[in-house]
Protein backbone atom coordinates (compact mmCIF):
# COMPACT_ATOMS: atom_id res chain seq x y z
CA UNK A 1 0.00 0.00 0.00
CA UNK A 2 1.31 3.38 -0.95
CA UNK A 3 1.37 5.98 1.79
CA UNK A 4 -1.18 8.75 1.23
CA UNK A 5 0.45 11.81 -0.33
CA UNK A 6 1.20 14.54 2.19
CA UNK A 7 -1.67 17.06 1.93
CA UNK A 8 -0.73 20.45 0.61
CA UNK A 9 -0.69 23.38 3.01
CA UNK A 10 -3.82 25.37 2.38
CA UNK A 11 -3.88 29.13 2.12
CA UNK A 12 -6.20 31.17 4.31
CA UNK A 13 -8.37 31.71 1.25
CA UNK A 14 -8.83 27.98 0.85
CA UNK A 15 -9.42 27.41 4.54
CA UNK A 16 -12.02 30.11 4.87
CA UNK A 17 -13.82 29.80 1.52
CA UNK A 18 -16.56 27.46 2.78
CA UNK A 19 -16.87 29.04 6.25
CA UNK A 20 -17.27 32.47 4.62
CA UNK A 21 -20.02 31.15 2.37
CA UNK A 22 -21.74 29.58 5.38
CA UNK A 23 -21.45 32.87 7.25
CA UNK A 24 -23.16 34.74 4.42
CA UNK A 25 -25.92 32.12 4.25
CA UNK A 26 -26.45 32.40 8.02
CA UNK A 27 -26.82 36.17 7.74
CA UNK A 28 -29.35 35.74 4.93
CA UNK A 29 -31.25 33.24 7.07
CA UNK A 30 -31.21 35.41 10.17
CA UNK A 31 -32.45 38.49 8.33
CA UNK A 32 -34.88 36.81 5.97
CA UNK A 33 -37.56 35.83 8.50
CA UNK A 34 -37.38 39.36 9.94
CA UNK A 35 -38.22 40.92 6.60
CA UNK A 36 -41.36 38.97 5.76
CA UNK A 37 -43.50 35.91 6.31
CA UNK A 38 -44.22 32.91 4.09
CA UNK A 39 -41.39 32.45 1.59
CA UNK A 40 -39.10 34.62 3.72
CA UNK A 41 -39.55 32.26 6.65
CA UNK A 42 -38.84 29.32 4.33
CA UNK A 43 -35.55 30.87 3.18
CA UNK A 44 -34.63 31.32 6.81
CA UNK A 45 -35.38 27.69 7.71
CA UNK A 46 -33.38 26.31 4.77
CA UNK A 47 -30.30 28.48 5.20
CA UNK A 48 -30.11 28.08 8.98
CA UNK A 49 -30.60 24.32 8.72
CA UNK A 50 -27.45 24.01 6.55
CA UNK A 51 -24.97 24.09 9.48
CA UNK A 52 -27.04 21.44 11.26
CA UNK A 53 -27.10 19.20 8.20
CA UNK A 54 -23.33 19.66 7.72
CA UNK A 55 -22.68 18.57 11.31
CA UNK A 56 -24.90 15.57 10.81
CA UNK A 57 -23.20 14.71 7.52
CA UNK A 58 -19.63 14.95 8.74
CA UNK A 59 -20.04 13.46 12.20
CA UNK A 60 -22.57 10.74 11.61
CA UNK A 61 -21.70 9.42 8.15
CA UNK A 62 -20.23 5.94 8.08
CA UNK A 63 -17.05 5.75 6.12
Amino acid sequence: MKPAPRPRRQTNGQIFAIPALLGVLSIIGLVSALVGDGVWDGVSWVTLAIPILLCEYFFLRRS
Binding site: L30, D41, L48, S63
Partner: protein
Protein backbone atom coordinates in the same frame (compact mmCIF):
# COMPACT_ATOMS: atom_id res chain seq x y z
CA UNK B 1 7.34 33.93 10.16
CA UNK B 2 8.40 34.79 13.68
CA UNK B 3 5.97 37.72 13.64
CA UNK B 4 3.12 35.50 12.47
CA UNK B 5 3.74 32.90 15.13
CA UNK B 6 3.94 35.55 17.82
CA UNK B 7 0.64 37.03 16.75
CA UNK B 8 -0.90 33.56 16.53
CA UNK B 9 0.32 32.86 20.05
CA UNK B 10 -1.51 36.01 21.15
CA UNK B 11 -4.72 34.95 19.42
CA UNK B 12 -4.41 31.51 20.99
CA UNK B 13 -3.96 33.11 24.38
CA UNK B 14 -7.00 35.33 23.77
CA UNK B 15 -9.10 32.36 22.69
CA UNK B 16 -8.05 30.36 25.71
CA UNK B 17 -8.68 32.96 28.38
CA UNK B 18 -11.84 34.54 26.98
CA UNK B 19 -13.29 31.02 26.72
CA UNK B 20 -12.19 29.85 30.15
CA UNK B 21 -13.78 32.81 31.87
CA UNK B 22 -17.12 32.69 30.07
CA UNK B 23 -17.64 28.97 29.47
CA UNK B 24 -19.43 28.09 32.71
CA UNK B 25 -21.81 31.02 32.32
CA UNK B 26 -22.32 30.33 28.63
CA UNK B 27 -23.22 26.74 29.47
CA UNK B 28 -25.76 28.00 31.99
CA UNK B 29 -27.15 30.44 29.40
CA UNK B 30 -27.40 27.78 26.69
CA UNK B 31 -29.15 25.35 29.04
CA UNK B 32 -31.62 27.85 30.50
CA UNK B 33 -32.14 29.40 27.06
CA UNK B 34 -33.20 26.10 25.54
CA UNK B 35 -36.62 25.86 27.28
CA UNK B 36 -37.08 29.62 26.86
CA UNK B 37 -37.25 29.17 23.08
CA UNK B 38 -40.48 27.26 23.73
CA UNK B 39 -41.73 29.20 26.76
CA UNK B 40 -45.16 29.81 25.22
CA UNK B 41 -45.68 26.13 24.51
CA UNK B 42 -44.34 25.08 27.92
CA UNK B 43 -46.54 27.56 29.80
CA UNK B 44 -49.50 26.43 27.78
CA UNK B 45 -48.78 22.82 28.64
CA UNK B 46 -48.08 23.30 32.34
CA UNK B 47 -50.54 26.01 33.31
CA UNK B 48 -54.21 26.59 32.78
CA UNK B 49 -55.27 29.88 31.32
CA UNK B 50 -58.75 31.36 31.45
CA UNK B 51 -59.64 31.83 27.79
CA UNK B 52 -61.73 34.74 26.59
CA UNK B 53 -65.08 33.48 25.34
CA UNK B 54 -64.97 33.19 21.54
CA UNK B 55 -66.96 35.87 19.74
CA UNK B 56 -68.45 36.16 16.27
CA UNK B 57 -66.33 38.02 13.76
CA UNK B 58 -67.05 41.70 13.72
CA UNK B 59 -68.03 41.85 17.40
CA UNK B 60 -67.16 45.36 18.57
CA UNK B 61 -64.33 45.76 21.05
CA UNK B 62 -65.02 46.82 24.61
CA UNK B 63 -64.06 50.32 25.70
CA UNK B 64 -60.44 50.36 26.77
CA UNK B 65 -61.37 52.52 29.75
CA UNK B 66 -63.63 49.71 30.95
CA UNK B 67 -60.94 47.10 30.22
CA UNK B 68 -58.46 48.99 32.39
CA UNK B 69 -61.03 49.66 35.12
CA UNK B 70 -61.99 45.99 35.29
CA UNK B 71 -58.38 44.91 35.50
CA UNK B 72 -58.24 46.40 39.00
CA UNK B 73 -61.34 44.67 40.37
CA UNK B 74 -59.33 42.13 42.36
CA UNK B 75 -56.45 44.47 43.26
CA UNK B 76 -58.18 47.79 44.03
CA UNK B 77 -55.09 49.44 45.55
CA UNK B 78 -52.86 48.91 42.54
CA UNK B 79 -52.28 51.21 39.58
CA UNK B 80 -52.12 50.36 35.87
CA UNK B 81 -48.75 50.95 34.18
CA UNK B 82 -49.30 49.59 30.69
CA UNK B 83 -52.15 48.36 28.54
CA UNK B 84 -50.88 45.74 26.10
CA UNK B 85 -52.50 44.15 23.06
CA UNK B 86 -51.83 40.41 23.41
CA UNK B 87 -49.82 39.55 20.27
CA UNK B 88 -50.93 35.92 20.48
CA UNK B 89 -54.60 36.36 21.27
CA UNK B 90 -56.76 39.02 19.62
CA UNK B 91 -59.51 38.30 22.17
CA UNK B 92 -57.47 39.35 25.17
CA UNK B 93 -55.87 42.50 26.52
CA UNK B 94 -53.12 42.50 29.13
CA UNK B 95 -52.76 45.14 31.80
CA UNK B 96 -49.50 45.45 33.68
CA UNK B 97 -50.28 46.72 37.18
CA UNK B 98 -47.93 47.77 39.96
CA UNK B 99 -48.20 48.74 43.63
CA UNK B 100 -47.39 52.36 42.85
CA UNK B 101 -46.49 54.32 39.72
CA UNK B 102 -42.87 54.41 40.89
CA UNK B 103 -42.65 50.64 41.49
CA UNK B 104 -40.31 48.84 39.10
CA UNK B 105 -42.36 47.31 36.27
CA UNK B 106 -40.23 44.16 36.60
CA UNK B 107 -42.33 43.31 39.68
CA UNK B 108 -45.62 44.11 37.97
CA UNK B 109 -48.49 41.69 37.72
CA UNK B 110 -50.12 40.97 34.37
CA UNK B 111 -53.92 40.92 34.42
CA UNK B 112 -55.73 39.51 31.40
CA UNK B 113 -59.08 40.96 30.40
CA UNK B 114 -61.37 40.03 27.52
CA UNK B 115 -60.99 42.50 24.66
CA UNK B 116 -64.66 42.21 23.65
CA UNK B 117 -66.56 41.92 26.91
CA UNK B 118 -64.03 43.59 29.24
CA UNK B 119 -64.52 40.60 31.51
CA UNK B 120 -61.72 39.89 34.02
CA UNK B 121 -59.95 36.67 32.95
CA UNK B 122 -57.01 35.96 35.26
CA UNK B 123 -53.79 37.29 36.77
CA UNK B 124 -51.65 34.23 37.37
CA UNK B 125 -48.66 34.45 39.67
CA UNK B 126 -45.89 33.47 37.26
CA UNK B 127 -42.97 33.77 39.68
CA UNK B 128 -43.04 30.08 40.63
CA UNK B 129 -43.24 28.88 37.05
CA UNK B 130 -40.49 26.81 35.47
CA UNK B 131 -40.18 29.26 32.57
CA UNK B 132 -39.97 32.22 34.93
CA UNK B 133 -37.15 30.62 36.91
CA UNK B 134 -35.31 29.85 33.68
CA UNK B 135 -35.87 33.41 32.51
CA UNK B 136 -34.53 34.91 35.74
CA UNK B 137 -31.45 32.67 35.67
CA UNK B 138 -30.95 33.48 32.00
CA UNK B 139 -31.29 37.26 32.27
CA UNK B 140 -29.84 38.26 35.63
CA UNK B 141 -29.37 35.18 37.87
CA UNK B 142 -31.74 36.86 40.37
CA UNK B 143 -29.16 39.63 40.82
CA UNK B 144 -30.94 42.55 39.14
CA UNK B 145 -29.11 45.02 36.94
CA UNK B 146 -25.61 44.04 38.14
CA UNK B 147 -26.43 40.42 37.27
CA UNK B 148 -27.56 41.48 33.81
CA UNK B 149 -24.48 43.56 33.14
CA UNK B 150 -22.27 40.75 34.39
CA UNK B 151 -23.87 38.28 32.00
CA UNK B 152 -23.48 40.91 29.28
CA UNK B 153 -19.77 40.99 30.02
CA UNK B 154 -19.64 37.19 29.74
CA UNK B 155 -21.43 37.57 26.40
CA UNK B 156 -18.76 39.99 25.20
CA UNK B 157 -16.08 37.49 26.20
CA UNK B 158 -18.00 34.83 24.29
CA UNK B 159 -17.90 37.04 21.18
CA UNK B 160 -14.16 37.58 21.71
CA UNK B 161 -13.73 33.81 22.03
CA UNK B 162 -15.61 33.27 18.75
CA UNK B 163 -13.57 35.84 16.83
CA UNK B 164 -10.24 34.61 18.19
CA UNK B 165 -11.52 31.11 17.49
CA UNK B 166 -11.86 31.99 13.81
CA UNK B 167 -8.23 33.13 13.77
CA UNK B 168 -6.85 30.01 15.44
CA UNK B 169 -9.04 27.83 13.20
CA UNK B 170 -6.75 28.62 10.26
CA UNK B 171 -3.50 27.09 11.53
CA UNK B 172 -5.18 23.95 12.79
CA UNK B 173 -6.78 23.42 9.39
CA UNK B 174 -3.66 24.05 7.27
CA UNK B 175 -3.41 20.42 6.21
CA UNK B 176 -6.96 19.29 6.78
CA UNK B 177 -9.89 19.49 4.42
CA UNK B 178 -12.99 21.36 5.51
CA UNK B 179 -15.22 18.97 7.43
CA UNK B 180 -12.44 16.63 8.50
CA UNK B 181 -13.49 14.35 11.34
CA UNK B 182 -10.82 11.84 12.30
CA UNK B 183 -13.19 9.32 13.76
CA UNK B 184 -10.58 6.61 14.32
CA UNK B 185 -8.22 8.75 16.34
CA UNK B 186 -7.88 9.38 20.06
CA UNK B 187 -10.70 11.18 21.75
CA UNK B 188 -8.69 14.39 22.04
CA UNK B 189 -8.27 14.47 18.26
CA UNK B 190 -11.89 13.61 17.61
CA UNK B 191 -13.09 16.28 19.99
CA UNK B 192 -10.73 18.84 18.49
CA UNK B 193 -12.29 18.10 15.11
CA UNK B 194 -15.80 18.35 16.56
CA UNK B 195 -14.90 21.65 18.25
CA UNK B 196 -13.37 23.08 15.07
CA UNK B 197 -16.05 21.97 12.66
CA UNK B 198 -19.17 22.71 14.70
CA UNK B 199 -17.60 25.97 15.86
CA UNK B 200 -16.86 27.19 12.35
CA UNK B 201 -20.21 26.21 10.79
CA UNK B 202 -22.13 27.91 13.61
CA UNK B 203 -19.84 30.91 13.84
CA UNK B 204 -22.20 33.54 12.44
CA UNK B 205 -25.27 32.30 14.30
CA UNK B 206 -23.35 32.19 17.61
CA UNK B 207 -21.97 35.67 17.04
CA UNK B 208 -25.37 37.14 16.25
CA UNK B 209 -27.23 35.41 19.08
CA UNK B 210 -24.37 36.14 21.48
CA UNK B 211 -24.08 39.80 20.62
CA UNK B 212 -27.83 40.48 20.50
CA UNK B 213 -27.95 38.87 23.95
CA UNK B 214 -25.34 41.37 25.10
CA UNK B 215 -27.42 44.23 23.69
CA UNK B 216 -30.45 42.93 25.59
CA UNK B 217 -28.57 43.19 28.86
CA UNK B 218 -28.35 46.93 28.24
CA UNK B 219 -32.14 47.30 27.79
CA UNK B 220 -32.74 49.13 31.06
CA UNK B 221 -29.92 51.57 30.35
CA UNK B 222 -31.10 52.15 26.79
CA UNK B 223 -34.59 52.95 28.04
CA UNK B 224 -33.17 55.36 30.62
CA UNK B 225 -31.20 57.15 27.92
CA UNK B 226 -34.36 57.43 25.81
CA UNK B 227 -36.33 58.70 28.81
CA UNK B 228 -33.89 61.47 29.55
CA UNK B 229 -33.21 62.14 25.86
CA UNK B 230 -35.94 61.97 23.27
CA UNK B 231 -38.87 61.52 25.66
CA UNK B 232 -37.78 64.43 27.84
CA UNK B 233 -37.38 66.55 24.71
CA UNK B 234 -40.84 65.64 23.43
CA UNK B 235 -42.47 66.49 26.75
CA UNK B 236 -40.29 69.44 27.79
CA UNK B 237 -43.17 71.91 28.16
CA UNK B 238 -44.94 69.51 30.53
CA UNK B 239 -41.90 69.00 32.72
CA UNK B 240 -43.20 70.47 35.96
CA UNK B 241 -46.84 69.49 35.64
CA UNK B 242 -48.36 67.08 38.15
CA UNK B 243 -50.30 63.96 37.19
CA UNK B 244 -53.61 64.82 35.50
CA UNK B 245 -56.42 65.27 38.04
CA UNK B 246 -59.11 64.21 35.58
CA UNK B 247 -57.47 61.91 33.04
CA UNK B 248 -59.10 61.84 29.61
CA UNK B 249 -60.39 58.67 27.97
CA UNK B 250 -57.85 55.98 27.12
CA UNK B 251 -60.07 54.74 24.32
CA UNK B 252 -60.18 58.19 22.75
CA UNK B 253 -56.40 58.58 23.13
CA UNK B 254 -55.83 55.33 21.22
CA UNK B 255 -58.24 56.45 18.48
CA UNK B 256 -56.32 59.71 18.12
CA UNK B 257 -53.06 57.76 17.80
CA UNK B 258 -54.53 55.43 15.17
CA UNK B 259 -55.78 58.42 13.20
CA UNK B 260 -52.30 59.95 13.29
CA UNK B 261 -50.65 56.70 12.12
CA UNK B 262 -53.30 54.97 9.97
CA UNK B 263 -50.84 52.37 8.66
CA UNK B 264 -49.85 51.19 12.11
CA UNK B 265 -51.63 49.49 14.96
CA UNK B 266 -51.29 49.96 18.70
CA UNK B 267 -48.88 47.66 20.57
CA UNK B 268 -49.25 49.12 24.05
CA UNK B 269 -50.18 52.25 25.99
CA UNK B 270 -47.97 53.60 28.76
CA UNK B 271 -49.97 55.55 31.35
CA UNK B 272 -48.94 58.96 32.73
CA UNK B 273 -46.12 58.72 35.27
CA UNK B 274 -44.72 55.36 34.12
CA UNK B 275 -41.22 54.82 32.75
CA UNK B 276 -42.37 54.92 29.12
CA UNK B 277 -44.25 58.20 29.38
CA UNK B 278 -44.32 61.63 30.99
CA UNK B 279 -46.57 62.56 33.89
CA UNK B 280 -48.98 64.25 31.51
CA UNK B 281 -49.31 61.85 28.59
CA UNK B 282 -50.69 58.61 27.41
CA UNK B 283 -47.86 57.23 25.27
CA UNK B 284 -49.49 55.06 22.65
CA UNK B 285 -46.78 52.88 21.09
CA UNK B 286 -47.71 52.05 17.51
CA UNK B 287 -46.20 49.20 15.52
CA UNK B 288 -45.98 48.42 11.81
CA UNK B 289 -47.57 45.56 9.94
CA UNK B 290 -44.61 43.58 8.58
CA UNK B 291 -42.50 41.31 10.83
CA UNK B 292 -39.70 43.87 10.75
CA UNK B 293 -41.75 47.03 11.30
CA UNK B 294 -43.84 45.25 13.93
CA UNK B 295 -40.71 45.32 16.11
CA UNK B 296 -40.08 49.01 15.51
CA UNK B 297 -42.34 51.11 17.69
CA UNK B 298 -43.41 54.71 17.29
CA UNK B 299 -44.81 56.48 20.34
CA UNK B 300 -47.69 58.93 19.91
CA UNK B 301 -47.97 61.20 22.93
CA UNK B 302 -51.52 62.15 23.84
CA UNK B 303 -52.15 64.85 26.45
CA UNK B 304 -53.93 62.95 29.21
CA UNK B 305 -56.03 65.95 30.18
CA UNK B 306 -57.13 67.34 26.82
CA UNK B 307 -56.87 64.17 24.74
CA UNK B 308 -54.88 65.99 22.03
CA UNK B 309 -51.89 64.52 20.16
CA UNK B 310 -48.85 66.58 21.18
CA UNK B 311 -45.98 64.75 19.47
CA UNK B 312 -45.09 61.56 17.64
CA UNK B 313 -41.57 60.56 16.57
CA UNK B 314 -39.75 57.46 15.45
CA UNK B 315 -37.64 55.98 18.21
CA UNK B 316 -33.92 56.85 18.09
CA UNK B 317 -31.48 54.36 16.55
CA UNK B 318 -30.31 52.96 19.88
CA UNK B 319 -33.82 51.92 20.90
CA UNK B 320 -34.51 50.53 17.42
CA UNK B 321 -31.29 48.50 17.66
CA UNK B 322 -32.48 47.07 20.96
CA UNK B 323 -35.91 46.24 19.53
CA UNK B 324 -34.44 44.53 16.46
CA UNK B 325 -31.90 42.61 18.51
CA UNK B 326 -34.64 40.99 20.59
CA UNK B 327 -36.14 38.65 17.97
CA UNK B 328 -32.64 37.87 16.68
CA UNK B 329 -31.79 36.64 20.15
CA UNK B 330 -35.07 34.83 20.90
CA UNK B 331 -35.54 33.13 17.51
CA UNK B 332 -39.29 33.68 17.78
CA UNK B 333 -39.83 35.37 14.44
CA UNK B 334 -40.09 32.51 11.98
CA UNK B 335 -42.66 30.08 13.32
CA UNK B 336 -42.13 26.70 14.96
CA UNK B 337 -39.56 25.43 12.41
CA UNK B 338 -37.27 28.35 13.26
CA UNK B 339 -37.68 27.65 16.98
CA UNK B 340 -36.67 24.02 16.44
CA UNK B 341 -33.65 25.10 14.37
CA UNK B 342 -32.77 27.58 17.13
CA UNK B 343 -32.93 24.79 19.71
CA UNK B 344 -30.68 22.47 17.69
CA UNK B 345 -28.16 25.25 17.08
CA UNK B 346 -28.24 25.96 20.83
CA UNK B 347 -27.47 22.29 21.56
CA UNK B 348 -24.59 22.30 19.06
CA UNK B 349 -23.28 25.41 20.84
CA UNK B 350 -23.29 23.41 24.07
CA UNK B 351 -21.22 20.78 22.25
CA UNK B 352 -18.73 23.46 21.16
CA UNK B 353 -18.46 24.69 24.75
CA UNK B 354 -17.98 21.25 26.28
CA UNK B 355 -15.46 20.06 23.69
CA UNK B 356 -13.57 23.32 24.15
CA UNK B 357 -13.51 22.85 27.92
CA UNK B 358 -12.35 19.26 27.51
CA UNK B 359 -9.54 20.25 25.14
CA UNK B 360 -8.29 22.83 27.58
CA UNK B 361 -8.34 20.39 30.53
CA UNK B 362 -6.72 17.69 28.44
CA UNK B 363 -3.97 19.90 27.10
CA UNK B 364 -3.20 21.24 30.51
CA UNK B 365 -2.90 17.71 31.75
CA UNK B 366 -0.53 16.86 28.95
CA UNK B 367 1.52 19.93 29.75
CA UNK B 368 0.95 21.43 26.32
CA UNK B 369 -0.64 24.85 26.05
CA UNK B 370 -3.19 25.78 23.44
CA UNK B 371 -0.99 28.48 21.94
CA UNK B 372 1.78 25.97 21.60
CA UNK B 373 -0.36 23.49 19.68
CA UNK B 374 -1.68 26.19 17.41
CA UNK B 375 1.77 27.50 16.65
CA UNK B 376 3.21 24.06 16.14
CA UNK B 377 0.51 23.14 13.71
CA UNK B 378 1.04 26.36 11.82
CA UNK B 379 4.75 26.67 11.70
CA UNK B 380 6.11 23.17 11.51
CA UNK B 381 6.01 20.72 8.71
CA UNK B 382 6.19 17.90 11.22
CA UNK B 383 3.07 16.15 12.28
CA UNK B 384 1.16 18.49 14.57
CA UNK B 385 1.07 17.50 18.21
CA UNK B 386 -2.41 16.13 18.07
CA UNK B 387 -2.49 13.80 15.16
CA UNK B 388 -1.27 10.76 17.01
Amino acid sequence: MAGTSKSLRRWGWTHKWSSIICTVFMLMLCITGLPLIFHHEIDHLLHDEVQAAPVAEGTPLASLDLVVKNSLTKDPGMVPHFLIWDPDDANAMMISIGKTLEASPVDNRIVRVSAHTAQYLDAPDVTGRFTYIMLKLHTDMYAGLPGKLFLGLMGILFCVAIISGIVVYAPSMRKLKFGTYRRDRLRVVRWLDIHNLSGIVLVMWMLVVGFTGVINTWAELVIKVWQFGQLAEMTAQYKDKPLPAHPSSIDAAVQVAIKAEPNMKPAFVAFPGTIFSSKSHYAVFMKGNTPLTAKLLKPALIDAETGVLTDSRDLPWYVSTLLISQPLHFGDYGGMPLKIIWAILDIITIVVLITGLYLWLRRRQAGVSVERVVVDAAASDHRPAYTS
